[in-house]
């Protein structure tokens, strides 16, 4: 079975936005959710997650707030309206792309 490390920034951004479309979440939980939902296929390495989160925040696609939980300070992220629109566009683009690649691969085999 394929087991990949998510390193493509565009793919990672889409996965983060999709995760946050379900509600507010923090970095560790986002990584765990993606790992769990992809049944361990997708993983984060090399400090990609937090720079990607900060980049999405800088673009206004997500918003963050610091909150104390069990004596530990966490940074919670949520999707903004702009983020929702970007996610819808990225989903559409990805589905069209993956559909086209599948068609080509199926035709070749």
């Amino acid at each position: 079975m394929y087991c990949g490390v998510v390193s493509n920034q565009g793919t990672l951004a889409t996965l983060i936005l999709q995760n946050l479309s379900r509600g507010t979440n923090h970095g560790y939980q986002i990584a765990q959710d993606i790992k769990r939902r992809s049944e361990g296929v997708l993983d984060f390495r090399e400090g990609t997650l937090y720079p990607a989160l900060h980049g999405l925040e800088a673009k206004g696609l997500i918003a963050s707030r610091l909150a104390k939980e069990n004596g530990r300070t966490r940074c919670y992220y949520k999707l903004t309206e702009k983020g929702k629109r970007a996610l819808a566009a990225q989903k559409k683009e990805w589905l069209a792309f993956s559909g086209a690649v599948s068609l080509l691969l199926e035709a070749a085999s």
């Binding site: 923090h26 970095g27 560790y28 990584a31 765990q32 984060f44 390495r45 090399e46 400090g47 990609t48 937090y50 720079p51 990607a52 900060h54 980049g55 925040e57 800088a58 673009k59 206004g60 707030r65 610091l66 909150a67 104390k68 530990r72 300070t73 966490r74 940074c75």
Partner: protein, 221 residues
């Protein structure tokens, strides 16, 4: 350091953070520290709950953070470094605006004393860019925002182009000694132009300039 030596988890996370956040501004460092320490602690607890030994759990938790050098490269693309914050503060400083003005005067002087084809149009660009840069810098000082800061940096950087052209044109009507000096000045200006454009691109990735430039550390709400 005694505190870190007594707490190996904090020490490992601190080691990773020291590399990943090297040279970043204090508010960015603090925010990344909070996130990474929470992530590391969560990860460590999860590995301990899975039945791993203390040492194994620490290694796994640290491994999950990834390569701190790659993380540092990515964080530097998203946050200002200390040098960049200082540069940005200085660009709205009155002395830098005076430097812009002197650049303008020097370039204007070149145009006045040298015959340049299409001098009128060039003169307009020589006047327009530094003046626009000075005005935008003044507004940015009163109201720090990424868009204005970017615009100010872009104007000031573009102001170097007609300046370089003016110096290049003047070099045709001066002696060999001065020609070499002008060539050196043009090379320096080209390097500054390259750094200026890189800085302009970088500012496009920075989110909230007020937070990045703030001297105070972020506090949890």
């Amino acid at each position: 350091m005694r505190g870190y030596a007594q707490n190996p988890d904090r020490c490992l996370a601190a080691w990773w953070l020291a590399i990943a956040t090297r040279n970043l501004v204090a508010p960015a460092k603090e925010r990344i520290r909070l996130e990474i320490e929470a992530h590391y602690a969560d990860s460590l607890n999860a590995h301990l709950e899975q039945g791993r030994s203390d040492v194994e759990a620490r290694i796994c938790a640290l491994n999950e953070l990834g390569d701190p050098i790659i993380a540092a490269k990515r964080f530097r693309a998203q946050h200002l470094t200390e040098n960049q914050a200082t540069l940005l503060k200085e660009t709205v400083n009155i002395w830098w605006r005076l430097l812009d003005l002197s650049n303008y005067c020097a370039t204007f002087g070149c145009f006045t004393f040298a015959p340049i084809p299409n001098g009128g149009r060039l003169l307009l660009s020589v006047t327009a860019f530094p003046l626009a840069g000075i005005i935008v810098a003044g507004i940015t000082r009163m109201n720090p925002s990424v868009r204005l800061a970017r615009l100010g940096v872009l104007f000031r950087t573009l102001a170097l182009v007609p300046a370089m052209y003016a110096f290049y044109t003047v070099s045709g009507s001066v002696g060999h000694g001065l020609q070499a000096l002008i060539a050196v000045i043009d090379i320096i200006l080209a390097v500054v132009l390259w750094f200026g454009l890189r800085f302009w691109l970088k500012l496009g990735e920075v989110g909230d300039l007020r937070t990045e430039m703030s001297d105070q550390r972020t506090a949890p709400t």
